[in-house]
Subunit: 504 residues, 2 copies
Amino acid sequence: MAVDNGKMLAWALGREKAPLVLKNAKLVNVLSGEIYPADIAIGEGVIVGVGEYAGEEEVDLAGRFVYPGLIDGHFHFESSMVCPEEFAAAVLPRGTTTVIADPHELANVWGAEGIRYFLEATENLPLNVFFTLPSCVPATDLEDNGARLEAEDLAPFFTHPRVLGLGELMNVPGVLHRVPGVWAKIEEARRHGKIIDGHAPGFTGKELAAYRLAGVTSDHECTSPEEGRERLRLGMHLMLREGSATKNLLDLLPAVNRFNVSQCLLVTDDRHPDDLLEEGHLDHMLRLLVSHRVDPVSALQMATINTARYFKLWNYGAIAPGYQADLVVAEDLTNFKPYAVYAKGRLVASRGELVVPIPRSQAPLPGTRFEMAPLRPEQLKIPAGNSRRAWVIGLLPHQIVTKKLLLEVPVVNGCFEASAEADIAKLLVAERHHRTGTVGVGLVQGFGLKEGAIASSVAHDSHNLVVVGMKDEDMLLAAETVARMGGGLAVVAGGEVRGTLALP
Amino acid sequence: MAVDNGKMLAWALGREKAPLVLKNAKLVNVLSGEIYPADIAIGEGVIVGVGEYAGEEEVDLAGRFVYPGLIDGHFHFESSMVCPEEFAAAVLPRGTTTVIADPHELANVWGAEGIRYFLEATENLPLNVFFTLPSCVPATDLEDNGARLEAEDLAPFFTHPRVLGLGELMNVPGVLHRVPGVWAKIEEARRHGKIIDGHAPGFTGKELAAYRLAGVTSDHECTSPEEGRERLRLGMHLMLREGSATKNLLDLLPAVNRFNVSQCLLVTDDRHPDDLLEEGHLDHMLRLLVSHRVDPVSALQMATINTARYFKLWNYGAIAPGYQADLVVAEDLTNFKPYAVYAKGRLVASRGELVVPIPRSQAPLPGTRFEMAPLRPEQLKIPAGNSRRAWVIGLLPHQIVTKKLLLEVPVVNGCFEASAEADIAKLLVAERHHRTGTVGVGLVQGFGLKEGAIASSVAHDSHNLVVVGMKDEDMLLAAETVARMGGGLAVVAGGEVRGTLALP
């Protein structure tokens, strides 16, 4: 909340000049809902006064807007496909100064070692990085993943000052059926007074009530205003998500009103590097909101103070004495294009460019762990039997949910085959953690592939190897290519590797 | 947040009938800002489900409104002049189910013993009673009061589950000048993650910024919208007060807007027994708000969820699974007249009448402690010297602040005298804790007394004996009468005691 330092009181009282004063700001006050001119006095990384101040160093903002540094309430570093240092370098110039990360993906591969890596790698970043602990590793008991995390594995992390809660509790049946391992984690979180994030797409009514009763207080998986409203009614915070694969912000907007807006917050969840660089991060969401007639102060509240309060980050997300000096200076509240970004009281970005070095963490990467049994061509076959129709996974654009379709599928030599005409591809999932040799094959509609194959070891939540393709030979080559790289993505067509991205 | 009980999950899921279901409610949801029909399922004192439920016991509410039990964010039991049990009996039928009390007055007389008494006396009430610890006993270092409470005296209380923070920090100069004893209390509160309530009438600008920087996050002493706005801007919660002596609710209303309403809460502070019985408690404030065009959901938010969240009472103040079942059933949202009140899942009041016995606490009253040196007539004299004018305390209606006036005052035998015509009375304050014999006399304008005298040992904050009168003899008799009772109030006129109220 504040620091008990005589110097800071002297700065606040104006008895001594504060080390840094931002003069002539147009302050966007997310606490009072007002915008007004003020100087902002900063010392020791903290805002010590707002009003008329003189500083040792003074920066004239010439009437530019200043709003609190943006806070992403739920996301995965892994989705950015870069290390935390590079992620920080990408989002700080866009005004994001705080993130709450769930190391769910790395933990599915590396377990507690993955969490430790992230905690160490983010220790000295100019970006404020907090964590929720992955609650569901594996995601369900049916998964073939790399590691198991039980309550006793998570327990030591709950006392870490940057661990804020238990992450997306996607094992909803485990909660409702009182699976002891799941409840042990819930109780561990509660015992430490930490929040419990939810993940309950499609759940409704009494099941959702029971889930809430268990102590879950947010959901980021809503796709319709009805789902959003039901969660808000239950006292769950509504995380409005705009990721790369899943975009729900505008769909959920009708659920937000002036009575419940303080329980709504912006999250990116899974945001890919191209979208980060081209569209942006939370700044992109603010632009979207304002272009859809949300007033800028409400939009900023959802990206700052609301998120901070939900996570009990009492001195983040606002511009007032005692709050950490994370600030964005911008020309307007429509483009949200930062003229300057301050994090912990220090200028970190200017006109879109990072102006501080990002310290490289000495934390050792857990390293490559890709242990897949070699694939055999016959493992890719899908025998048709006497049928001409097959169950096919139907994709929906920008949605995480899929449909179960029964479609006519071409049969060649007694096996179902892909069809460019019907937009049906073959899908292979191969275990890659413990060389179990487990393989699953199926068909998927709506992927849009015309020829060749794509293989990826980025495959939520267990991150086994997933291959989509139109031809078995290309699929095998793509799979082998990713295996050789120790993880990543590979694109193959006509028997040739056309592109790779190594992601160890 | 919730309880980990298999039975409760079964009730929530509808697999078993909940012990109590309120059918056909019109639910006022302060979380989502909506009003809609629903059943409310209750078990173990907790709301387990909202929707369509069947119960072991079912109560048909026939479409009546149900809103969360009201929460008073700051008040003093002492001002009600009755014991906590009687206070609970008075406010429960009006819909108040939770109060945050500051035992500031009793602590000024009895110290830690006063706090212990209140904690014990409120242990088993149907009313939820929480406390903030009195931060300023004595209120300032200039006071002659009964006890001193240092940080080490308060420390053991901070771990009590019903102690929520440090109470109204009225020693603002002590905060700003870094008086070690004051800061030791601030640090003790912070160390326990507890909130710090403020009390800073008249403070503004840099001094207020420094006060906020110290960690103070509320103020209940604002009297103008400007004061209110300044505090909201600083991230302090604005407590809108409507007491008996001080009524600021409507004055502050212009400071409240849709962006900051979640930081506003209703408090009564000092509410006298006659007002409690005639006008009401928080229900009175709700009526006032709605009659001044505040929408009922916002008004209720300020009396429920906002208060709960400020005090980190995560399972109070709303109607949703996991929240404590404190509920008010009412015919409308204009009169807020409870048809029924449920506290901890139990019917406690019906149509304005208490329907449960209030358990008498076995906690011993600290007892009478009234130790005043006898008063001598000459102690009441105010020598005029050569002057015809005197400094007079000018009262302002319904305000706690006073004016300093220089007025013509009648002089008799070389001493200033009271004047009914000019509405000037004499004022005596006599130390009553340690027989120090310290006495202060002065003049007060605007009290409205025509003859006689009134003496009271209820005199904030040190509760020395205060006597206001038009005649010295009556003042002495009134003082002696209160001293004989061991504390209380006495009214005297024409040399006769006309009325007394013993308040040991």
